[in-house]
Symmetry: C2
Subunit: 332 residues, 2 copies
């Protein structure tokens, strides 16, 4: 089944168009988990390598508790590579273990890597994250081509389009070949996303609108366009720019949106709702810190201790689901 | 000393404004090296993990021979992250070992990672690659802040600007704080780089020109602008677009250029020469495959066997040095 159909079916099953970002900073992890890792690993070495190994393992164990708490609630998780790269090879292993554990628990895994490069380099990134799956790796698809996939193997990833179509094509090729997906950066959620994305073009329209049109073009055709009318070539459109999200929803009808910026970044459910179509489909909303650190949010009035982070994440994931569904229905 | 001054001094010392890209594909590695790794590691495990471990270690050993051959000739190397990510945690370790070995041999290391993200995520990438150095890691700078740096710790890295200034600022902050450098993508060397970079703006000029102006602005000020008049906030400008390189050289006088596209991508020395100033400074030209795979190039008429790849790389690095210096002098 195509990536986009798997994603939409899981969204329909869970009645939840949201995804939890695993942007796990070591500061989010309660001391009990990190201390246990330190005790277990202290024989493994010393210095910077030991610290990196301990922090990375602690992050993986934190993620595992989060995944256990939310796997029945959300269709997908989105680990953010930057927080794993901070720990070199130990972080890489924590990423691999997190992605495999999440897939093993039935979650779709979107690698938030924002990669973009050219020629054989873009091919290497595409094979690293969107390969066919690796035989003998738990949670991986295996299959015919299973010998050549990278260990990071995920269901989808984010891609930066600044290098043009030959920077994106290798990712699209792997989407078609291995039934994977990409989310191309179109209009990002950060305050200065307009610096370059909002530039007015001499030919009319803005840079991000032209990129949205290209993404729509790239997503046409066999092996990409799914049963629900959406393509596996998707876009990132921030919840913090609802007017632009609404305009893009009308403009690129077959492009599915990943919507960051909800929660800690200040985007409201109403902003996110602008990214959905009239049938309540067409987008998935991401929240990261607001779920991972829900235990400390004033909303819960001190109900949760740091050690209860997973229970708090579950409560927040349910609250978010309800809030987003409510906002989508109110928009219809 | 600022990154840009260290780089320029090494260029002056070696009389060589070129950098070797370590875009090492496993296909470049002679069977003797891979076989030795396979024999040594066969007790380590099985399946996909063993294959990844063997390939990654073979790539590191190949890189080590290349580094030994070229370290007296070139000022810098530029490992390309994509080729390491393909092997998950094993590739990450090969990257760390390659970067440390190169620094240990006196080379400046530019991580070609093309990262770009927002807020705390961009900070994590900046700390991963442009941290203060890690105590106890060979070739690393250590120093005061030495506890918090990532294991990937390099001298500089490439950065994608599509997310706007708050996607670049955390990298600039680390450049100032830890005397590191960045190369922001402005006009890339690939055939379709014009898809978005060459778009004409309603306000006049093109997208890449406006980005070049921003890079020039970002590079002003204390802690960034060096003794030779260039800034540690640098730009990527492809050798395959000599007219644009010439125009950008005149436009952004304090922005140092990393020039990819020479060699295997088809950019000539004359194209690269357009990126230099009248004093013969202001740029560094990258070649990857044409050096790593020099043994197989028709230029050497079968003189080198695959096992002689390092000797061939040395000969090609010297030939490239001479060709580029000749082209720069011809332009003056």
């Amino acid at each position: 089944m195509l990536f986009i159909d798997r994603l939409i079916e899981r969204i329909i099953e869970t009645k939840n168009p949201s995804v939890i970002g695993l942007d796990t900073s070591i500061g989010f992890v309660p001391p009990r988990i990190r201390d246990a890792c330190e005790q277990e690993l202290s024989r493994a070495g010393a210095g910077a390598h030991l610290r990196a190994a301990v922090d990375a393992e602690a992050i993986y164990r934190f993620n595992r508790e989060i995944i256990d708490a939310i796997s029945g609630i959300v269709p997908a998780v989105k680990p953010q590579m930057a927080f794993y790269e901070l720990y070199g090879q130990y972080g890489a292993e924590a990423f691999v273990k997190t992605a495999n554990y999440a897939r093993h628990r039935g979650l779709i895994v979107i690698a938030d890597a924002k990669r973009g490069d050219i020629g054989s380099t873009a091919e290497a990134y595409a094979d690293a994250f969107l390969g066919p799956g690796v035989k003998g790796v738990e949670g991986s698809e295996g299959g015919e081509g299973g010998e050549s996939g990278g260990l990071y193997c995920c269901d989808a990833m984010t891609v930066n389009p600044y290098l043009g179509i030959d920077g994106v094509k290798p990712f699209i090729d792997n989407c078609r070949k291995y039934k994977k997906g990409i989310f191309v950066l179109v209009k990002t959620s950060n305050p200065s996303s307009g610096d370059f994305q909002d530039l007015e073009l001499a030919s009319g329209g803005k840079v991000y609108e032209l990129i949205a049109d290209r993404v729509a073009q790239w997503g046409q055709g066999e092996g990409l366009l799914g049963a629900y009318g959406y393509s596996s070539i998707c876009a990132v459109v921030g919840a913090t720019y609802p007017a632009q999200a609404k305009e893009l929803r009308a403009r690129a009808k077959r492009v599915f949106f990943l919507v960051p910026g909800y929660g800690a970044q200040g985007g409201g459910a109403e902003g996110a709702a602008a990214a959905f179509d009239s049938a309540g489909l067409g987008a998935i909303v991401n929240a990261s810190r607001s779920v991972l650190c829900a235990w400390s949010h004033e909303r819960w009035g001190g109900k949760y201790a740091h050690d209860d982070f997973a229970a708090a994440a579950e409560a927040e994931a349910l609250r978010m689901k309800s809030e987003i569904n409510h906002a989508i229905n109110a928009t219809d």
